[in-house]
Amino acid sequence: MNLPFIFETLERLIAGIPLTLELATLSVAAGGCIGLCIALMRLSGRWPLVAFAWLYVQLMRSTPLLVLLFLIYYGLGQFAAVRNGPLWPVLREPYWCALIALSFNSAAYAAEIIRGGLLSVGHKEREAALACGMSRLLYMRRIMLPLAIRQALPAYGNEAIAMVKATSLASLVTLMEITGIAASIASETYRPIGAFVAAGALYLAITFLLTRAVKAMEYRLTRHLRPPPTAPAPYPSGASA
């Protein structure tokens, strides 16, 4: 393992960063939206919706992402109806298949995190909002979601990191993101250790930055929980008017 080779490899791997980040960002965003819907279904109290949401989360969480990815990428093409259908231009592309698989997988975890966040919003906040005459939607937008997001943020940060790591599976459906490029370098040069160590260092850098970003966001969102920067000057006891 020599340093010049690792630097050379890093230069080539950098080309894969945009795809990795793109897949991770889009799938976390899409997974968050689907996950919110699933969480709302789970909390809706109507049994078909609750059952569907419960089943979705259970099934997604107990199957490997790889199975889902191959099911979408290789599996759906088995049916002539899909091959001739309007969605085929999308389902033919490994990029979209990876994105769909990552999003649906992430949605299950996101749903559980969001559900926990929503359950943590207290009854008093809800009552106060309704007493102010807020409509259900306004209450959700102004009160429930901000409180829930604050509660769910640390867990959601972990989920985002897990998605960055999960994008490496996209290399198994021919996408050339960081892991894909590293694997091809390893097989071209017969120096697997250098190539994979360099790729690992890149992932580590990305996840490190992501952790810092989540920490910073958490810090900003909990401003009201910190003691004020300087304690207010106490009233002199004799000076009351």
Binding site: V164, K165, V197
Partner: protein, 239 residues
Amino acid sequence: MAEPGFLGVVGFGSQGWGAVLLSGAVVTLAAALCGLGLGALIGAFGAWAKLSGGRLLQGLAETYTTVLRGVPDLLVIYLLYFGSSSVLTSVAGLFGQEGYFALPGFVAGTIAIGIISGAQSTEVFRGAFRAVSPGEIEAARACGMPPFLRFRRIIAPLTLRHALPGMGNVWLGLLKESSLLSATGVAELMRQAQVAAGSTRMPFDFYIAAAILYIVLAMGSGLLVEAGERHYSRGVRRT
């Protein structure tokens, strides 16, 4: 020729791949079990290093868990599988052996998922040890138990009880991570499903079958973990 249906293909009949899939599931279970064992061993050492090791050991354990948390599992598996073969080949070259040497995929893959799960187990054990109340350890010391007896009779059982839910999660993660071993050619469930899908041109049916088997494995072990939790906390009053 009549097209065999889903049950015909994944069943045990003349055109069925059921036995192949089941053998894959057995390999998946074996890989995950070995990974769990190795990971628990690493986790015990890691937790010990983090809790009571010197500064060097603490730093090493901290680096280990941080790196493994930030690097994709697939990359670790590739590194172990291809990396070990390049090391072995060059070591063999030093001894004058020509040719290509490699660890079997199963061994390299199992070590890889063991190392990955070891990082998670370290955190689980550390948290579980923290949950053991110091009074119980003090009581053992006051009874005059030597350190090893104290560990065997008091610390280990109590820590394991608190660690059981966390280890259940680690186990579910292992079952899913083991599917990545298919990328290095280990004949586990996912790989066998790929082989069957390739030769019958029915990928959808076989990946669905694989998903069902994974779900069965996950739910079955979920029930076992729950039973274990109930068994090991029968001395604890639930409030």
